[in-house]
Structure formats: C-alpha cells, structure tokens
C-alpha cells in the first residue's frame, strides 16, 4: 500500500512540472509584448525597456523560467488588472462558490447516472435502454451554454419558478461568511430563509453542468454492468437462487463500478472546466465567471493563475482517483 502510494505520488511530479512548462511556453511563445501592454500607449521606448528589465523579460529563456517557477511556488500571481486585488486572494474567495456548484453537479450526475446505467443494462436492448441511450447521446452533443439559456428562458423568464442568475437574491441578506460555502454558512447561522434561497439559485446551473456528466456516467455504468452480467459468478448466484434485485444492485454493481469510478474522477475535472461557461451565463460568483471576465478583459495574470489552478486540481483528482481505485481493486497495487 505505502509503496503504491509513494510511486503514485512520485508520478505526479513530472506531470506538475509539465504543467509549469506548458503554461510558461504559453506566455513565452505567444507574440504579445507584456511590457509594452503594461506600460500603456503613452510610454516611451526607454520606459518600456526599463519595465522589461524589471520583469526579467530581457533575460535568457531558462532564467525567465527560473523566475517564473519562483513566482508560482510562492503563489505570487500579481494583481488582477480588473479587481485590483491579489489574484491569489480573489481565487481563494471565489473557490467555495465553484466547489459548491461542482459538488452538487457531481452528486446529481452520479446519483442519477449509476441507477440509470443499471436500468439500461438490465433492460438491455429494450425500450428503457434505447430511450436512455438516446438521451445520453443528446447529453454529450449539446452545447452547455445553449442548455443554460434554454433553461433560463423556460424556468426563469416564462414560468418564473426559479431565479435567473446569481447565488442569492438581491433582497436576501447574506449569512456571515465562515466557510465560504453559502449553503453551509446559511445552515451554520441558522438562516433557513437564505438556505432555501441559495438552494433555489443552485438548481439551474447545477442541472446544466450535470447533463454531460450524467450522460457519460450512465454510459460507463451500463457498459460495466453488461460486462459483469456475463461473468460466471452471476450464473452461479442465479443458480443458487439469489434474489435478482439483490444480486444486481449489490454483487454485480460492486464489480462493475471500477470504470465508473475513473469516470467520476475525470468528471470532477471536466466539471470545473465546464463550469467556466455555465458560471458566466448564470453570473455565478466563482472561478469560472472570474476566468471569463479575465479573458474578456485580457487580464493575463488571472488567466495564468486560473489555468495553473485548474491544472493542479486535475492532477490532484487523478491522483485521488488512482488511490481510490487501488483501494477498491487491490490487484492494481500489486501490478503497479
């Protein structure tokens, strides 16, 4: 176990280093004169040259990479050109909103996707299977930003059932900030009105975000269960006379979820990325809308920090998925 853990941890180092190289190349290769842009239109060539020297832009590639590493390791991402605050502070403040939305979407797609996948497999090539497969094809092919707008159009603008945007209604007093997670903060402050309001705001963005994941979890669970159903032990259990429901939901499912587990891990990363657009449409005050704002205003420091952060989250989630995998299927630890 410890050896597996250590090995897996060591494997994370080159991918994190690769991430740093890629983001560095991103700023270095792309032809845009950061110093000239920062100095403004009225700057003289001497001023630009001085700024370039201060930023280390006149040094060799390797030296610049060293400077870059130093800044990243100390979490010095500079100041956002838009909010005029330290980027690291902005991110820390906005992260809980994104995590809240992501976890909720992840929960929705897993809690619905696994049973639906089993349902498909059990009814293999009958109408529930065809229907759900049709929807999962749609779920993968649909543009999330369009779904978001359609949901807003129907449920907020036409029917008026759910709020259009934001995390909390304007007239609702926000609970005191403790964890940053609005639902948890509301509950801790015993503010159930705010809790209900925040939950209502969560519904549409979470559904939009969950759609793609729901489709892929359903697909993977279905494939896993179908494969397990062919195994000898299923035939044996059937012969012994186990109740079908018990057999499927416990023994078959447990042996089929390895592929789904990996998928859930990958999903977490893709939900954070997919949240970028969804947050922007619903004005969700998280990392995603921050990213879009930074991209539209050309706020390079923020773009860099956010890209790095998402990369690190990806690497972390991959690591975690592999570890859970090892726990569920101990054979993996021996071959690794």
């Amino acid at each position: 176990m410890t050896r597996y853990l250590l090995r897996r941890l060591l494997l994370t180092i080159p991918s994190l280093f690769g991430l740093l190289v890629v983001t560095f190349l991103l700023i270095y290769i792309v032809p845009s004169d950061t110093a000239a842009a920062m100095a403004g239109d009225a700057a003289t060539p001497e001023q630009i040259a001085r700024l370039r020297h201060e930023m280390g832009l006149d040094q060799s590639v390797l030296a610049q990479f060293g400077l870059y590493l130093d800044r990243v390791l100390h979490l010095q991402f500079g100041e956002s050109a838009f909010s005029h605050r330290a980027v690291a502070v902005d991110i820390a403040q906005r992260l809980p909103a994104t995590l809240e939305l992501t976890f909720f979407a992840l929960f929705l797609s897993t809690a619905l996707g696994i049973p639906l996948g089993v349902l498909c497999a059990v009814n293999h090539n009958r109408w529930p299977d065809f229907l759900l497969r049709f929807f999962s094809v749609l779920g993968v092919a649909v543009a999330a930003f369009w779904v978001a707008i359609m949901l807003q159009l129907l449920f907020s603008m036409q029917l008026g059932w759910l709020p259009l945007r934001g995390e909390l209604s304007d007239e609702m007093l926000a609970p005191p900030r403790m964890t940053g997670f609005l639902l948890i903060d509301s509950a801790l402050a015993w503010r159930w009105d705010a809790f209900a309001d925040a939950s209502r705001h969560l519904v549409l963005p979470a559904i939009t975000l969950a759609l793609g994941g729901l489709a892929s979890i359903t697909r993977f669970t279905r494939a896993g269960v179908l494969e397990t159903l062919q195994k000898d032990f299923v035939l044996y259990e059937r012969a012994v006379g186990y109740r079908r429901s018990r057999m499927i939901w416990i023994y078959v499912l447990r042996n089929s979820v390895t592929a789904t587990l990996t998928q859930i891990g990958l999903l977490f990363g893709s939900l954070i990325a997919g949240g970028v657009v969804v947050e922007a449409i619903f004005d969700w005050p998280g990392i995603g809308s921050y990213t879009v704002q930074a991209i539209l205003t050309g706020d390079h420091q923020v773009m860099l920090a956010v890209t790095l952060m998402i990369g690190v989250v990806y690497a972390g989630v991959n690591l975690l998925t592999d570890l859970v995998h090892g726990l569920v299927d101990p054979r993996l630890m021996e071959t690794a």
Binding site: S15, G18, V22, A143, M157, E227, I272, V292, I295
Partner: protein, 279 residues
C-alpha cells in the same frame, strides 16, 4: 465487404452518417438552399424580431434577418473551422506521435510528458487563454483549438507505433535494409490510420462544440458572420420575447455534433471490436 455490411446494420451509425451528409450538403449548397441568402449581412429593420411564420420558418432576428437562412449559412463556417482545426491538429500530433513511438529515449520522454501535460489541462480553458493572448479573431480561435487538440492524436499514434515497432513485419523490413523513414511513413503510418480516422471524426464534432463556445464568448467569428455560437450570444438581449432567435442555432449545433459523434462511435466499433461492448 464485411466492413460495409456490419456498418450498414448499425442503426445509430447510419443515422450519424445521414446527418453528417446532410450537414455537408447544407454547407456546400448553403446560398442555394437559404430562402434569403443576402441575410448574412443585410438588415431589414421593418421586420425585426418576427416570430416563426410561413415566410420566416425560424423567425427573424434583431436586425430583421431570416434566422433559418442564417442557420443554413452558418453550417459552412462551422464545418470549415472544425476541418481546419482537426487537420492542423493532425499535422502537429501525428508526426510527434510517430517520432516519440519509434525513436524512444529522452526525445520520446520529452514529447510524451508535454503531451500529457497539455492533456491534463481542460482544452476549453487553454484554448480560451491562447486565443486571448493571440488577440481575438477567427484565425486565433482556430489556431488555439488546434494547439490544444494535437495531443489526442499524439497519444493514439504513439501507442500504435510502439505496438507496431515490435511487430514481426517491421523487424523483417529492417532486416532487408529498409530505411527508418521508409518504415515509419510507408509501413507504420498506414497501419495507424484507422484509430486516427475515428479520433478525427469525434474531434470534428467536439471542435464544432468548443468553437461554438469561443464564438459565444466573442473570441471567434466576428459579426455579421452567421456563426451559430455568436448568434446565440446576440440573442440573449432579446429574451424571453424572441425565443426562436436563441433556439434554432442551438439545435443546429446539437444536430451536427450528434451526427459526428454517432458516426465516430460506429466507426470505432468496427475498428476496435474490443470496445464494442461499450454500446
């Protein structure tokens, strides 16, 4: 022709093929099919924001342009962008995969670590950041998407090349004195072509989707282009009254991407029978 017979029995794949052919036809014949081909740039303020009717089946937009015509004319742009992006990504990704797979050593390690690092980043976020850094335009968007999509091809070609490198026929070729370039380009590359085609088909649909997001965020096509993503972005100011303005371009994206995905899945089942159980 076992291949064709098996493919023609796969109903979803045939539906996908039909959709792709339809979209291709619409893209090629666009100006002939569109009821008002001039509505790419023309504006008719007298008939702005009209709901769907016999004359304008999909309604009109904020400048009085026929939404149906613009959806039809948008197909060409969407397909062009995704074809350019996927071809560019293949041009970068395939040679890198061949080199990394056949050569081995530090060069292979270097290429594959960079590939993995790019794959570990969300394509959309990376493409958005790149497109921004290169100053937003349709060309930047295409380049950014290609620069973030090549690793998918590198991974596939790398794996296939590694497998083929140790196969008997490559040994035999080397034994009778064939040069490395000859082996790699005339014998290894053709054997990797089927997974490449599958990936490219799925990539075409995927790129239409990401390109639409870039267009939606104003990082792609510029007005008055009849770009689907851009149209949806423009429609937001006229909701909820003009529901048709936002709805139909989105349906066009959905249909097109679905076509490529179904076709790609069908092709994959034929190319890689091990994966067939997944459907």
């Amino acid at each position: 022709m076992l291949f064709l017979r098996r493919f023609s029995r796969d109903v979803p794949a045939m539906v996908g093929l039909a959709i792709v052919v339809l979209v291709l036809l619409v893209a090629v014949l666009g100006p002939l099919l569109a009821p008002y081909p001039a509505d790419v740039s023309a504006s008719h303020l007298a008939r702005r924001l009209k709901p769907p009717s016999a004359a304008y089946p999909f309604g009109t937009d904020n400048l009085g342009r026929d939404v149906l015509s613009r959806v039809i004319l948008g197909a060409r742009g969407a397909l062009t962008v995704s074809l350019v992006v996927v071809s560019l990504a293949m041009t970068i990704g395939i040679p890198l995969g061949l080199v990394a797979g056949y050569r081995g050593g530090w060069m292979s390690e270097g290429i594959m670590r960079i590939t993995d690092a790019v794959l570990a980043l969300p394509q959309l976020v990376l493409a958005l950041a790149l497109a921004q850094l290169m100053s937003p335009s349709l060309e930047s968007a295409m380049l950014a998407l290609a620069l973030t999509y090549w690793p998918f091809f590198t991974r596939i070609v790398y794996a296939e090349t590694r497998r083929l490198k140790s196969s008997l026929f490559v040994d035999a070729l080397a034994g009778i004195g064939a040069g490395t370039a000859r082996i790699v380009f005339l014998h290894v590359l053709p054997n990797t072509i089927s997974p490449i085609i599958v990936r490219a088909t799925i990539g075409l649909g995927f790129t239409i989707l990401t390109a639409a997001v870039l267009g939606f965020l104003g990082m792609g096509a510029a007005p008055p282009a009849p770009d689907w993503g851009l149209s949806i972005a423009q429609s937001r100011s006229y909701l909820p009254a003009a529901w048709w303005y936002a709805t139909f371009p989105g349906l066009a994206i959905l249909l097109t991407v679905m076509g490529f995905n179904l076709l790609g899945d069908g092709l994959r089942d034929i190319v890689d029978p091990r994966l067939r159980r997944s459907r």
